[in-house]
């Protein structure tokens, strides 16, 4: 079966910033994204956990999106300000998809 090379972008971002990130993605002309919850984590700023009525500050969510390889650099540039100034971790990997035209 024919497979097409795409990029999988995974962004770990603080919950209060999610809406802003999604706004950037909407403007950046990506075909779609999926947001996954996270329940705990640790980093340079210490550890956090989702349980209890904590504020959204310090809690992470994960945004996953499949993009075409051409679109990846532009996307990186668009979200760079968010990354340099605020807490977000972006990683990009190579994936193969079945219906390549939809991304």
């Amino acid at each position: 079966m024919e497979m097409h090379a795409k990029k999988r972008v995974e962004i770990v971002v603080e919950a209060p910033l999610l809406n802003r990130l999604l706004g950037i993605l909407d403007d950046a002309n990506v075909s779609g994204y999926t947001v996954l919850p996270a329940i705990a984590g640790r980093g340079h700023h210490g550890s956090w956990s989702r349980e209890g009525l904590a504020t959204d500050a310090g809690r992470m969510v994960v945004v996953v999106l499949i993009v075409s390889p051409d679109a990846a650099p532009g996307l990186m540039t668009a979200i760079r300000p968010l990354i340099t100034r605020q807490i977000a971790i972006v990683s990009v990997s190579d994936v193969q998809v079945i219906r390549g035209e939809r991304f």
Binding site: E14, P16, G46, S49, E51, G52, L53, A54, T55, A57
Partner: protein, 327 residues
């Protein structure tokens, strides 16, 4: 003085405060006791629905007055003034950077609705009434302090400059607790005593029990916050978390007197001024001032000021209001 002591003891031995203490201890002892996030949010929705509705139903009974409008405006004024004072005190007494101080100051200008609710409950157990519209005052005091903090931060730092103020304010004003409080308040107002009768078994009878469970959760997250963040706090900052509520209350006392609030109403306005936000404002600060260190303001507000208000603060405000306003 023996009056304030007996008030404090009675408050400290209430199921409410004891469940908070249980949570605090469990978290400090690293127990795996947790309240699931969804349950905590559900309990918070319930508490805001109940307190808002009851406030509205009371206003339906007592009618609107010029005093109501004046109190709301005074609340807003206080929440604009207090962050300035908090910023100055932090800068004078601690080594916090301007950004950190501004972000922290915003929390003290805003309010903690759970502290407010605990205060209404303490009043009720003493048989003291309060003006129903103080719920609306609480809602009105949630957001303005954020504006002040951003203006302060902009004076001191250029990196804090790219967030449109209007958008920030709109986001905070439309935040869930403001909408739920005001919404339930208006519904209580419209449906009045008849509406209240219909849902009283839910929002009335269960209230204190639900509050106990919720305070258990607050204790758990306050304890976790302390365990995680205590090393971030210097002595002057911790002290600030303890005296700032009293400073705010002192500033508010003449306002209560001028407004002619009842003893119960005065206690609540003092409580609002003295309490610090730990839900809405931290999230807003992550957006607006991400350079500020979240551990500082979160640990201070949730781990120091909230427990202080819940245990010693509220009886103090009752006692002040009683002494000055009369009972």
């Amino acid at each position: 003085m023996s009056d304030v002591l007996s008030l404090a003891t009675q408050n400290l031995l209430s199921p409410m405060v004891l469940f908070f203490a249980l949570g605090l201890l469990a978290a400090l002892a690293k127990s795996d006791l947790v309240v699931p996030e969804a349950i905590a949010k559900g309990l918070a929705l319930y508490l805001m629905m109940a307190i808002g509705f009851k406030g509205g139903a009371q206003v339906a009974a007592s009618g609107v007055s010029a005093r109501m409008v004046a109190t709301i405006l005074s609340g807003i004024a206080l929440s604009l003034l207090i962050p300035c004072l908090a910023f100055l005190l932090l800068r004078l007494t601690s080594r916090l950077s301007a950004i950190d101080a501004a972000a922290t100051a915003a929390h003290y200008g805003s309010i903690s609705i759970v502290t407010f609710i605990a205060s209404t409950q303490a009043l009720q157990s003493m048989g003291l009434d309060y003006e129903g519209y103080l719920v609306a005052v609480a809602a009105g005091m949630e957001a303005p302090a954020i504006l002040v903090a951003l203006l302060i931060a902009r004076r001191y730092s250029d990196c804090a400059g790219d967030e449109p103020l209007g958008r920030m304010l709109r986001e905070v004003a439309g935040n869930s607790s403001v909408v739920m409080l005001i919404g339930a308040f208006i519904i209580g107002w419209i449906t009045g005593a008849r509406g209240y009768e219909m849902i009283k078994p839910f929002i009335g009878d269960l209230f204190l029990g639900v509050l106990c469970l919720f305070l258990l959760d607050m204790g758990l997250i306050a304890g976790r916050g302390l365990r995680e963040g205590r090393r971030q706090l210097s002595a002057p900052v911790i002290l600030f978390g303890l005296y700032m509520p009293l400073v705010s209350a002192a500033l508010t006392l003449p306002v209560c007197w001028l407004l002619g609030l009842s003893t119960g109403g005065s206690t609540l306005l003092l409580t609002l001024a003295a309490s610090a936000s730990y839900i809405a404002v931290p999230a807003a600060m992550r957006l607006a001032l991400p350079e500020a260190n979240a551990s500082i303001y979160l640990t201070l507000s949730l781990g120091i000021t909230f427990p202080f208000n819940l245990t010693l603060g509220i009886p103090t405000y009752v006692w002040i209001a009683r002494s000055v306003i009369g009972s």
